[in-house]
């Protein structure tokens, strides 16, 4: 499957305030916006074993 995107990833990255250096995404710009600043400390504190509630089961019909 091949698709073409009309998204401007550089702008999306910029808008998301990602810390991707300019050298990687045509020298992307500034980090952190207000939304990221609120969310980042919470996400950073999550231990890796905490999983999303959205659990997938290979055989949902079977009572397991």
């Amino acid at each position: 499957m091949s698709t073409t995107s009309n998204k401007d990833w550089k702008k999306i990255a910029k808008a998301s305030g990602l810390t991707i250096p300019d050298a990687v995404l045509e020298r992307m710009a500034h980090t952190l916006d207000a939304l990221e600043a609120d969310f980042r400390p919470l996400a950073r504190a999550l231990p890796p074993e905490v999983e999303p509630a959205l659990a997938f089961r290979a055989n949902p019909e079977a009572a397991e």
């Binding site: 499957m1 990833w9 999306i12 990255a13 998301s16 990602l18 810390t19 991707i20 250096p21 990687v24 995404l25 996400a43 950073r44 999550l46 890796p48 074993e49 999983e51 999303p52 959205l54 659990a55 997938f56 089961r57 290979a58 055989n59 079977a62 397991e64």
Partner: protein, 458 residues
């Protein structure tokens, strides 16, 4: 000698665990400089445990089929007191305080952990050319990759360092090295084997499974590691069964699906003919070959890639401030995942559910599916593109093209060797079954591959 044959010799006291462990450590010492399969060797602890295993056996206290057998695990399984890096500089000094469930259960089953195998950085790739710990080499041709991300496990088993090494499979990472290294690689059903204590990459896609040199050995290992684990939320409560097939099992009357779309498009001709020969072999054993049209695998691959990009980036985002400690290929993927909107991830999970239902309909028509594991044999180290059917294809996309879709579907799949290409490089056959049909796909595998696979001269 297979793992099960070695276990029988141990019980007869024809050989001791100390002798087996010393032999494994000597082989690692001799071959690791040229293969880099092992990242951490646990010689002292292994010898101590082997001594204990022999003493237990002398008292008639065998712990099971793995008692006294040297094994290895991929360096993403937590090992209490032993460094666990995940192939990453980020975790170069990480020493867990507990064992992964798989490690714990293997240990309880008496296995002797001799070392931890190298891997693609963070399990996020298929070359196992690790920028921090060095490139892992394919024992069949040390200029070529072993596949990945469980490349060290594939190489260690293929080189005869150990008869079993554990791997993990998020988008083909057990089956690809099995294919490239000419060994058996089993990815069980999602939920069959606990993920607890294995460094995650994609929460909803990660599967743990063994690589071995015989089909029966893979079943014997699954007997030990399968089962409900309350520490893994997605662990299945479904009862386990005996997964070791008979020595010469019958597959008469089994319906084997032969995909008419997708899976035989754009293959190396040697792969194509070897896998088609496997259908003939199955038919000669009495199986019924059923041509089938499979659901849109390319679409499932797309969904799987999107889910993985989002999950891996979410998981590793806290570490992305230390960009200089992450290799370029992995960093690029982690950056891509951060650019995806949350709505894409949710919709990918919705699509996944729909595709699961669509795929489930297939199992009313066939008992299992044969496909090539990889469209190519092992590429050279450093190659980024390969020519397949006259078209250049990204190595990573080519290697994962036929295996990735099975992960979001959660289905059990095994890769077994089914021949060699014109250069003598192994070719893999993938056998996919319905949920929790591990015993069936191993039975079919054993019928086609009743003997232990050879170890290359090294």
């Amino acid at each position: 000698m297979t793992l099960l044959e070695t276990a029988a010799a141990l019980r007869r006291r024809d050989v001791s665990s100390v002798e087996l462990t010393n032999a494994a450590l000597q082989r690692i010492e001799r071959l690791n400089p040229s293969t880099n399969a092992m990242q951490t060797v646990m010689a002292g602890a292994a010898r101590e445990r082997a001594k204990q295993a022999d003493q237990d056996l002398a008292r008639g206290e065998g712990r099971g089929p793995l008692h006294g057998i040297p094994i290895a695990v991929k360096d993403l399984f937590f090992t209490k007191g032993v460094r666990t890096t995940g192939g990453s500089n980020l975790f170069a000094d990480h020493v867990p305080g507990y064992d992964a469930t798989v490690v714990e259960w293997l240990s309880t089953g008496g296995a002797i952990l001799v070392g931890k195998t190298g891997m693609h950085e963070l399990a996020y790739g298929i070359t196992s050319s690790n920028p921090h710990f060095g490139a892992i080499k394919n024992p069949w041709d040390r200029d070529r990759i072993p596949g990945g991300s469980s490349g060290g496990s594939g190489a260690a088993v293929a080189a005869g360092m150990v008869s079993m090494a554990m791997g993990s499979d998020t988008g083909g990472s057990v089956r690809i090295p099995a294919s490239f290294c000419g060994v058996v690689g089993l990815k069980p059903t999602y939920g069959r084997v606990s993920r607890f204590g294995a460094m995650p990459l994609g929460f909803s896609l990660d599967h743990m499974g063994p690589l071995t040199r015989s089909v029966r050995d893979a079943g014997a290992v699954l007997n030990v590691i399968a089962g409900y684990d309350p520490r893994d939320e997605t662990s299945s409560r479904r009862p386990v069964e005996n997964y070791v097939p008979g020595v010469e099992p019958s597959i008469r009357g089994l319906r084997i699906g032969m995909p008419e779309n997708f899976y035989f498009e754009s293959l190396d001709p040697d792969v194509d003919s070897a896998v088609r020969a496997a259908f003939h072999a199955a038919a000669s054993l009495g199986a019924e070959i059923v041509p089938v049209t499979v659901p849109d695998i390319a679409a499932i691959n797309t969904v799987a890639r999107l889910i993985l990009l989002a999950e891996a980036s979410a998981l590793l985002e806290p570490h992305l401030e230390r960009r200089d400690r992450i290799g370029a290929d992995v960093l690029a993927l982690l950056d891509q995942g951060r650019l995806l909107p949350a709505t894409d991830y949710i919709n990918a999970q919705r699509l996944r559910r729909a595709m699961q239902r669509e795929f489930a309909a297939l199992w009313s028509r066939v008992d299992c599916l044969f496909t090539p594991t990889t469209p190519i044999t092992a590429p050279r180290i450093g190659e980024t593109t390969v020519a397949v059917s006259g078209q250049n294809e990204d190595v990573r996309l080519a290697a994962t093209r036929l295996v990735r879709a099975i992960n979001p579907l959660g289905l059990p799949a095994v890769s077994i060797p089914c021949g060699a290409d014109r250069r003598g490089l192994p070719i893999g056959l993938q056998i996919v079954g319905p949920p929790f049909a591990e015993a069936l796909i191993l039975r079919v595998s054993q019928a086609l591959l009743p003997a232990e696979v050879p170890v290359p001269k090294l």
